[in-house]
């Protein structure tokens, strides 16, 4: 397939009479040496040609011999241009200058804040610096909380994970420098695992997921860590009420190699008084470390690692969990048209938790998931109109429970399981003319399991499954300001989580599927830009899923039992919705409004009498309003308002007595709804302007300003026969003060 496409395209390239030469290079930030991905390079003389730097900052384009002016643009960076005389293969590297510095120097009145930009295939690229002034809980700026302000993405307060276009939280692929991260939350979901100080940018794909990504049905959150400043040493950090952080970055060899180490620690438990004379431990820490070495002009090595751990302990109860992820990457510019990235990937997520066995004794179990893999990716700039991405990915998953006490006989916990995931992919970014662009490709994925073909319930599965996942996006620019995109996408998924079900499991438990889950999505989007920095985009999507797994009706979950007997396989899912986003990107007031109207349902023959039922994260309305106001050069105010329909939940509608005991009579699965939640958060940042090297800022904020009692959970409590719904919520507002510094 690769060969055919390549040769066809090469033929078309050769049909030009003139000699064609490639121009290639790397885009970096001038002050920090950080690679810039997504910078757009255009040719003044040939407006139909434009390329974007890839996620490693590399770009290449091919032109007939001649004189040209190259133009480059990227959000928050000064536009730049270079004139070239093209008569041989040439290398043009770019060092872009931050626009912020420019404002100070030139005193431009025009202020531009772009928190998220949309790539042409529909990925939302978030600028980590751009979010720094948004309000957050306890002053921790948090990229995963910020993406929840985007349309199509919803979450519940105080719960980890989020739902993208009606998918479940385990259908989101979280990548940190290409390594998957299995648990994305700290501290019961109030913080995400990603320390924003260590991040360069984050790209979120909700629909048109390019074929180099795979393995999850709903979304990809691709987090890229900073490389570290290769020009000067920098120290930055912050002191907050419940957490502090510190980052150090600098050159190992100036301009050639650099490192960054970034750490965070919370001390929330210092403020918790002992309960029943017993101290409560509740904290987390995490560490991001990265180093890179430029071996020669065309080759570089990057080593990234992440380590995080949460500790929760009370009396004899323990619940600790941690992620470890590491990637060793080799970037190679093989030729001026071919860029290669080779990655060795390791990721581990495990936890240690105390559970009570049937004899009410406390036992400790340590479920664990480990992933080891290799990814080879090529970016191939074939001609004037085609850019190919192709490569392969192979990885193995290990599911185990280490050091299991002998008394535990559950064969589910005793038997370790392994799983292979292999994929070959290719896609072509094709620009037939300046109005039309097409990205089409496919991913061939192979899943193999070492499990028995028949499970305890008598369901029969194959040992391996092969899937072809076609993907296509077609975009049409009516003019510079109006773009229409159409996309179709198929994705498969081989691992899933069993959710904790209100404490039945202390943590989400990762499982290997018996049969890959499959999702097909179609979506249509329209973006319109207006003159004065306004932008409006709307999207409509429909998603169909199969082979989903859910708990059976009335299943009693206990991790020490054979959990799988409680599962109903072969579930179907459907989700559809409308997303609207309006942005204002320039001026003193910037921000956006996002609204989602959607529905997501599941069906399984063994659940709810086979009828369709709402997924628990089915939220009809979901609205966010985010605003940033530059009051004075020193003061920035920001606010965020969110409103969302409550999660779907199974409610009882009556009670009855059997054998002298009272029971609740339940209605259909997820047929009820917990009350809607809404909240306003505000924040003020004071950043004195100084020419000195030492820079500092203060951030003051209030979370949940008007103290809304948003439901965390609903339970039903009987008192002398009368059963009443009881709501548990985090009430009232939470203040925060954070002091940030940099030198």
């Amino acid at each position: 397939m690769i060969r055919i496409t390549t040769s066809t395209i090469l033929l078309s390239a050769f049909s030009y009479a003139q000699n064609i030469y490639p121009v290639s290079g790397v885009v970096k930030d001038r002050d920090t040496g950080e690679l810039i991905s997504g910078a757009v390079i255009k040719i003044k003389e040939k407006s139909e040609i434009n390329v974007q730097s890839n996620e490693y900052g590399f770009y290449s384009l091919s032109l007939p011999e001649g004189d040209y002016t190259l133009l480059i643009s990227y959000s928050n960076r000064k536009n730049d241009s270079k004139e070239i005389h093209l008569h041989e293969t040439i290398k043009i590297d770019w060092d872009l200058i931050k626009e912020e510095t420019l404002i100070e120097e030139v005193q431009l009145k025009k202020n531009k804040t772009v928190v998220s930009t949309r790539s042409k295939t529909g990925g939302e690229i978030l600028d980590v610096e751009g979010i720094s002034k948004l309000p957050v809980l306890l002053g921790e700026k948090d990229i995963l909380k910020t993406i929840q302000y985007l349309p199509g993405i919803s979450s519940q307060e105080g719960r980890s994970g989020f739902s993208v276009r009606g998918g479940s939280p385990d259908q989101n692929l979280m990548l940190v420098d290409e390594a998957p991260v299995f648990n994305n939350s700290h501290l019961l979901g109030f913080f995400s695992t990603f320390n924003s100080d260590a991040l360069r940018n984050v790209t979120v794909y909700k629909g048109n997921i390019p074929s180099q990504y795979g393995g999850r049905l709903s979304s990809v959150v691709d987090v890229k860590m900073k490389e570290g400043n290769n020009q000067t040493y920098n120290v930055s950090g912050g002191l907050g009420l419940v957490s502090s952080r510190l980052s150090v970055e600098g050159p190992i060899q100036k301009g050639k190699s650099s490192f960054i180490i970034s750490g965070r620690r919370t001390y929330a438990d210092l403020f918790i008084p002992p309960q029943n004379g017993s101290k409560i431990k509740l904290n987390f820490y995490d560490l991001n470390a990265k180093a890179n070495f430029q071996i020669n002009k065309n080759n570089s090595i990057h080593l990234s690692s992440y380590f995080g751990k949460d500790v929760l302990a009370f009396e004899e109860f323990n619940n600790d969990w941690g992620n470890t992820a590491a990637t060793l990457r080799w970037n190679s510019i093989i030729s001026s048209k071919l860029f290669s990235n080779t990655s060795l990937i390791y990721s581990n997520y495990g936890y240690k938790t105390t559970v009570q066995n049937n004899n009410d004794e406390f036992v400790e179990i340590k479920p664990n998931i480990r992933n080891i893999g290799i990814k080879q990716d090529f970016t191939h700039y074939v001609g004037l109109k085609h850019t190919l991405r192709y490569g392969f990915q192979t990885s193995q998953y290990f599911f185990s429970t280490r050091d299991l006490p002998e008394a535990i006989t559950s064969s589910f916990l005793r038997n370790n399981r392994t799983m292979w995931e292999n994929a070959l992919y290719i896609n072509d970014d094709y620009k037939p003319n300046d109005k039309l662009f097409i990205n089409y490709g496919l991913r061939a994925s192979l899943f193999s399991s070492d499990r028995k073909k028949t499970d305890d319930a008598g369901n029969v599965f194959n040992k391996s499954y092969f899937n072809i996942e076609p993907r296509i996006v077609v975009g049409y620019n009516f003019n510079e300001n109006n773009t229409l995109t159409l996309g179709y996408n198929r994705n498969t998924q081989n691992i899933y989580t069993l959710n904790s079900l209100n404490g039945a499991l202390n943590n989400d438990l990762w499982m290997d599927v018996r049969k890959p889950q499959v999702a097909d999505q179609i979506n249509v989007g329209f973006t319109k830009k207006f003159n004065n920095g306004y932008e409006l985009s709307t999207d409509v999507f429909y998603k169909k899923m199969s082979n989903l797994v859910d708990y059976k009706d009335g299943a009693a979950i206990n991790i020490l039992d054979n959990i799988e007997q409680n599962l109903a396989y072969n579930g179907k899912g459907r989700a559809y919705g409308l997303e609207i986003m309006a942005k204002k990107t320039t001026g003193k007031l910037t921000g956006w409004f996002s609204y989602t109207l959607s529905k997501t349902q599941r069906q399984n023959d063994e659940i709810n009498n086979g009828g369709w039922y709402n997924a628990s994260y089915d939220r009809t309305h979901n609205l966010s309003l985010v605003a940033n106001y530059q009051l004075t050069p020193k003061w920035t105010l920001s606010g965020a308002f969110v409103y969302a329909t409550g999660n779907a939940m199974t409610y009882p509608g009556a009670k009855y007595v059997i054998d002298g005991r009272g029971y609740l009579q339940y209605g259909e699965r997820n047929g009820g709804r917990i009350p809607a939640s809404h909240r306003l958060d505000i924040n003020a940042t004071y950043e004195p302007k100084t020419d000195k090297r030492f820079k500092s800022s203060w951030s003051f904020g209030i979370y949940n300003v008007y103290g809304r009692h948003n439901p965390y959970s609903i339970s039903f409590e009987g008192n002398q026969g009368i059963v009443r719904p009881k709501q548990t919520s985090f009430v009232s507002w939470v203040p925060n003060i954070t002091y940030n510094f940099k030198f």
Partner: protein
């Protein structure tokens, strides 16, 4: 049921982050009251066998469900035997029905023109050999538990329900299947612990069929109806037409043990 300790940690943790708040609220709950609830048992002892028919109550009602008194209740078997039950003191009783191991019994309850049917097969008899005590020492005290001794038959698919009660405390239910221990002598302990010395513990052993086992397995913990470590749903009933409850043809043997 388990991990109650862990659930208790949550409020404490949240009380730190903000004020943790719990309150009764009004919710627009769909009223499902009035559904028929049937509780029928046929045993290997001589009759009369009893069937209770009630209706589910509004969730905030203070009264106990009242029995349905005008139902037509019939139990028949696979040999042509049929018995129309008579109502007395809140329940329907058989008049002449006799039972045998391995026979299939059909319950039919007609209320307001709607008929609810259920079938249950009385399992073969399994001998309840004895009760023995098991002491499990832990850090602070010795836990005293009870093991029902019986030998599971060679053939697969045996299900057991135990009701154990100490003195006047709440009856505990324990369910066993032969899923992982087929054909073995039982050494699993019953639910319920902290029995005091010299106290008498009464245990009833029932051999039940699979549908009844699944019904009780999925039933929420009755001692604590809001502890939802089970997926909230009505347990799968073996009665048709959406009635709640169960119909069980089962064996029954009782034994007692004095805790040492």
């Amino acid at each position: 049921m388990k991990n109650i300790k862990y659930l208790a940690v949550f409020p404490i943790v949240f009380s730190l982050l903000s004020c943790f708040d719990e309150r009764y609220i009004d919710l627009p709950l769909k009223d499902l009251s009035g559904s028929i609830v049937i509780e029928g048992n046929v045993t290997d002892k001589s009759g009369p066998y009893r069937v209770k028919v009630t209706r589910s109550e509004k969730i905030n009602a203070t009264s106990y469900p009242k029995p349905v008194t005008d139902a037509i209740v019939v139990i028949s078997d696979n040999h042509g035997q049929s018995d129309t039950l008579k109502y007395a003191e809140g329940e329907y009783r058989t008049t002449h029905l006799t039972t045998q191991y391995g026979d299939v019994y059909t319950l039919s309850v007609t209320v307001d023109g709607v008929t609810y049917n259920a079938m249950s097969k009385m399992p073969e008899y399994v001998e309840f050999t004895a009760l023995k005590q098991k002491d499990i020492p832990n850090e602070y005290y010795i836990e005293k538990k009870v093991i029902p001794v019986f030998t599971d038959p060679e053939v697969k698919g045996n299900y057991y329900l135990f009701k154990s009660q100490e003195y006047s405390s709440i009856e505990k239910i324990t369910l066993f299947s032969d899923y992982s221990v087929n054909g073995q002598v039982n050494n699993r302990t019953l639910n319920g612990t902290n029995y005091s010395k010299n106290r008498k513990v009464k245990v009833e052993m029932q051999c039940i069929d699979e549908a009844v086992y699944n019904y009780f397995k999925a039933q929420n913990n009755p001692d604590n109806p809001e502890s939802n470590t089970t997926v909230s749903a009505n347990p799968p009933s073996n009665i048709s037409n959406g009635a709640l409850g169960y119909f069980s043809a089962h064996t029954t043997v009782e034994k007692e043990i004095i805790i040492q």
